[in-house]
């Protein structure tokens, strides 16, 4: 019996973790890893930090070298995009022929019948209509995006140069969107000496992710470093004919605000509209470079099988299963977190790895059960060779994320977004040391630390591993801090 492959779609953090876990947990059948980017799997968090800064070369972002990948015996198809999935037949449609291996018997060109599928297609950067045709307007999601932006920041704005010149500052960079990504890029660009304006619909940076008090602490740090913070909604761009290097495109000269332009924190913003202030001159922000950091779209557009719910990411059950034999992991997956009792989706690096591993384990458990059940015919040879069938387990991680801005390191466990109650303790304003507790429905569900020593940060994890009554959580946090 020739075994069908397990296919992992999306060759990044979650997809790689899934592929490695499939092998570790005993899958010996064929294993196909499909990614539409041309690069070997690389890590994204350094894109807005060390890579943008110029401190790291792109090779340093590789999650595995070719040598480290070799033992996995992957059918690795880079530059290949999955364009469809027939759920009942567990059959993928693929385009792009770079790296497509000879098609085996019984497979039509461009389709791949699978024993199981793990979907790890992440999210893509949101952009504004027409922005991709304007030179100087960037997004920051992929290595190619980051290299393009770094090139512009490194050499005074001429595209195409690879080198990172020391002290190449002096560009006017407008960052649209003051979430985590926009804030990190603002910090790097300031450190490189550029003039940085950070515009958000919300007055306080990162408020949606961490609440207004932690956001205000970050805002103070950005202001102290010379970032100009504005509240406003972007309406479009002013452009001029591009220089010859821009290749006939138009290049950006300014960002137009529909309303706002109020210095953040000075005018009281509400409902996204800044009241008063914002004279005409505030509505046109001169820019040599623009970074759009306005959120993301889950990579589900290619999933058109009505058996799948792709409303906001790919909807899964507590086992990360979207359908029989079809699992999802990472930024794209919205699953029923068994501890929090509602569907959640995270765009956090740690979740990508942990969920990739969980999806792999549960898919193998399902295939093993299929193989021993009456419908054993669909089972692949690989499953039979696997170790004794593991149990499927609900995926119940303690979510974790971090962010680095200047010397400030934020680390958070549990749920910090969507809180109905936040208690922030500023331990040292000047040093930006703080601790925040996030609550929902009278329970503590998340905790964030800025500038705390690692031992204390790790101790906080246990406090929010499961929702805990608010008062009890406060006491346990006080104890964790006192223990040093």
């Amino acid at each position: 019996m020739t075994g069908l492959p397990i296919a992992v779609v999306g060759a990044s953090a979650a997809g790689l973790a899934a592929a490695e876990a499939l092998r570790r947990f005993g899958w010996r059948g064929p294993l196909t890893l499909i990614g539409d980017e041309p690069h070997l799997p690389y890590d994204r968090p350094p894109l807005s930090k060390q890579l943008l800064q110029g401190a790291w070369a792109p090779e340093k972002l590789l999650l595995r070298t070719a040598d480290q990948l070799a033992p996995l015996d992957l059918d690795l198809r880079l530059g290949t995009r999955a364009t469809g999935l027939d759920v009942a037949g567990r059959t993928l449609t693929l385009d792009g022929d770079v790296g497509v291996s000879p098609l085996a018997q019984g497979r039509e060109r461009g389709t791949l019948r699978c024993a199981g599928v793990i979907i790890a297609t992440g999210v893509a950067a949101r952009t504004l209509p027409g922005a991709d045709r304007i030179a100087g307007v960037h997004t920051l999601r992929t290595l190619d995006d980051a290299l393009a932006l770094r090139g512009r920041l490194a050499n005074g704005g001429t595209p195409g140069s690879e080198g990172v010149a020391a002290g190449g500052g002096g560009r006017r960079l407008v960052i649209v969107g003051n979430g985590v990504l926009g804030c990190e890029a603002a910090a790097v660009a300031r450190e490189l000496g550029h003039e940085v304006t950070l515009v958000g619909i919300e007055a306080t940076p990162m408020a949606a992710a961490v609440g207004t008090e932690v956001g205000e602490l970050l805002a103070e740090e950005h202001r102290a470093r010379g970032v100009r913070l504005l509240t406003g909604a972007v309406d479009g761009f002013e452009t001029a004919p591009a220089d010859p290097a821009g290749g006939g495109d138009r290049r950006v000269t300014a960002v137009r605000l529909a309303h706002g332009g109020t210095p953040a924190g000075e005018g009281r913003a509400s409902g996204g509209v800044a009241a008063g202030g914002g004279g005409a001159e505030g509505r046109l922000l001169p820019a040599d470079l623009v970074l759009l950091a306005i959120g993301s779209r889950p990579g589900v557009d290619w999933l058109d099988d009505p058996a799948l719910d792709t409303g906001d990411g790919l909807r899964c059950d507590a086992y990360c299963a979207a359908a029989p034999g079809v699992y999802a992991a990472g930024d794209v997956a919205r699953w029923d977190h068994p501890v929090h009792g509602r569907p959640l989706r995270f765009e956090h690096r740690m979740n990508a790895t942990e969920q990739g591993m969980a999806a792999a384990r549960n898919l193998l458990a399902e295939l093993a059960a299929e193989a021993s059940g009456p419908a054993g015919a669909t089972a692949a040879a690989g499953a039979e060779a696997a170790a004794p069938a593991p149990e499927r387990r609900p995926f119940a991680p303690v979510p974790y994320f971090w962010s680095d801005q200047y010397a400030v390191k934020l680390q958070a466990y549990g749920l910090t977004a969507g809180a109905d109650r936040v208690e922030t303790t500023v331990l040292d304003r000047a040093a930006r040391r703080a601790l925040a507790l996030y609550g929902r429905d009278r329970s503590a569900v998340g905790v964030l630390a800025a500038g705390l020593p690692p031992r204390q940060v790790r101790a906080l994890r246990a406090v929010v591993a499961a929702p805990l009554p608010w008062e009890e959580a406060r006491e346990r946090i006080a104890a964790a801090l006192a223990a040093g």
């Binding site: 968090p45 790895t353 942990e354 974790y400 690692p454 031992r455």
Partner: protein, 64 residues
């Protein structure tokens, strides 16, 4: 088992220390990983492999 670290890639997530506290620690100043035992006893091997798999910055390399 022999462990090597590419410590300057470490993002200080601390996951390795949670999983294998006898093998990994973190520096107090910046949270960067510290290797306590490069050749841990057999009883630690599973935990070390899990830590290497989970580490979000692919810092930990394990050789048989």
């Amino acid at each position: 088992m022999k462990i090597t670290l590419d410590a300057d890639r470490c993002c200080a997530a601390g996951q390795c220390v949670l999983i294998a506290p006898e093998v990994f620690d973190q520096r107090d100043e910046d949270g960067v990983v510290v290797l306590l035992d490069a050749e841990p006893p057999a009883g630690q091997h599973d935990a070390v492999r899990e830590a290497a798999a989970v580490c979000p910055a692919a810092v930990i390399e394990v050789r048989a």
